[in-house]
Amino acid sequence: MVDIIKINDNTYEVPIGYRPGMRVPGRIFVSSALREMVEPGTIDQVANVATLPGIVKYSMAMPDAHLGYGFPIGGVAAFREDGGIISPGGVGFDINCGVRLLRSDLEAKSVQPLINTLINALFEAVPSGLGATGRLHATDQQLTETFISGSKWAVEEGYGVEADLAHCEENGHMAGADPAQVSVKARKRGRPQLGTLGSGNHFLEIQRVEEIFDEDVARQFGLFKGQITVMIHCGSRGAGHQICTDHLEVLSKAVKKYNIEIPDKQLACAPLGSPEADRYFGGMVCAANYAWANRHIIAHWTREVFNKYFPDANLDLVYDVAHNVAKIEEHDVDGRRERLYVHRKGATRSFGPSRSEVPEAYRKVGQPVLIPGSMGTPSYVLCGNDRALEVSFGSACHGAGRVMSRSKAIKMFTGKNVQAALNRDGIVVKATSPGMLAEEAPQVYKPSGDVVDVVHNLGIATKVAKLVPLGVSKG
């Protein structure tokens, strides 16, 4: 058995030969403490990805890496347009699951007494949880427009404002959508759920900026100590899940057709340029746009709730990031500019000032990188850095990362005592299915601060602000 090699304090290499068929080495970005928490299965998944055709440089895993399916969660890999592949195993079922951060001009001391009221009102305004259907009742035509133009469609329909668009990754609508690749089933799941939060680890949170690490960048991002922010974490709901399910079936057949050897069925894929790859990409973009529209609509309702209690308050969009997506990006590879399909599964894009994709307002410093904590633990705002282009194809972590299985969590905690413990810490929690809080207990995640420190120390994104939860609405 070939051993994992320590490259530096925050980088470990999975050498070629760790498993047969690896085309490139793996790179896992963790500190020695976090290294202890990486399951052997996660390393196997990093090595599995390294066997895929056309992979460039490394199969990578971010410090929040844990066991996933196909790619590990926290997995990043880029594939050459010529000779590479695209795989739903590198994107996941919840296509464009992502995070949006709103900054208010309110200070915590004026909002704190109303947290209970606000969380209750947000819980009412934003449908969440199982079987939740939106307030929207989108028509089939509107659904098609959502798939094509995402947040742009939402703004045209009166949700949010034009200025929000520039503060979304891809301006909230990614090019290349092909609604013909969305099945009737995916439409059936997606239509009633537009404008819903979902369940599991998805949340809507009122936060306070507790600490500023970088005053200059914080000013650029419009953040200050004591400020109230709102974070929205959700994705493409049943539409995305079904689009992935449908295409996984097709791509399972494609690997046979194109003679691609894969070590795991979830890594089903097709060569870039093949009809199967084009169809998956077209469908995946539809789901990504749906997710941006979804977060846009939820942000709009959040603003309405705040304005009911604080009529003069402004909640501007800091940024909106995708953390489950495959994108076409240009990167330097061995001194040559190449077009690559960068897969980020549970990883955030982290572009620095040199990239034209970074919004005008942040071009001097880099894009905001939003790292949600788990329920009850701090979230972080970081700033993208050009260093990430050399290290990780412009990527950073996406969250805290689980360490404890759901079954263990359910044995150790009950929804009720998790809620009571959070209340004792002064955090208001409102949930549709309190039973589901047990498996999202803060203790089932790695400490978010440790994960963020690795990213900061590597220089792939640098710390700007720490946000602590005051109230959470969950599915």
Partner: protein, 139 residues
């Protein structure tokens, strides 16, 4: 033979389901999938749904069968407790599933998880003494 068991997995739900026949294995796999969401004792089989599928490969058919249950759960807003499967092989596999359940009532149905999708990661069917299906669910 136990109908199914759950295995350790950090983020998702992994299970193995057994059967004396592929039909029984597919039925038990469906029960394993649904039990991760709601206690079947709380579900009354008041209504029924029929699923018909066809596939050249049993494994792909099984994947589609389980995915179909997730689809029905979400689009019918229903929870299920009984799964009867009949299979025929005539060149291709043909599956007919009869699913019993009722519409979601959050007062009686306490959810512990929501299954988003069935993954193909380590998905496999094996036949030794019994038929065995292993799957990981994205929750």
């Amino acid at each position: 033979m136990i109908p199914f068991e759950y295995l350790e997995h950090t983020a998702d739900v992994k299970f193995r389901a057994w059967g004396h026949s592929p039909e029984e294995m597919l039925s038990n796999a469906a029960s394993a999938l649904f039990k991760t969401m709601v206690d079947p004792a709380a579900i009354q089989a008041k209504e029924s749904w029929t699923v018909e599928l066809e596939d050249a490969e049993l494994e792909q058919l099984a994947y589609r069968w389980l995915s179909e249950i997730v689809f029905l759960f979400e689009t019918e807003s229903a929870v299920f407790s009984t799964f009867r499967v009949s299979l025929k092989k005539n060149g291709v596999w043909k599956l007919q599933g009869e699913i019993g359940g009722e519409r979601i009532d959050l007062k009686r149905h306490a959810f512990e998880n929501e299954v988003k999708a069935v993954t193909l990661h380590q998905f496999q069917i094996k036949k030794n003494d019994h038929w065995c299906l292993q799957a990981i669910l994205d929750v």
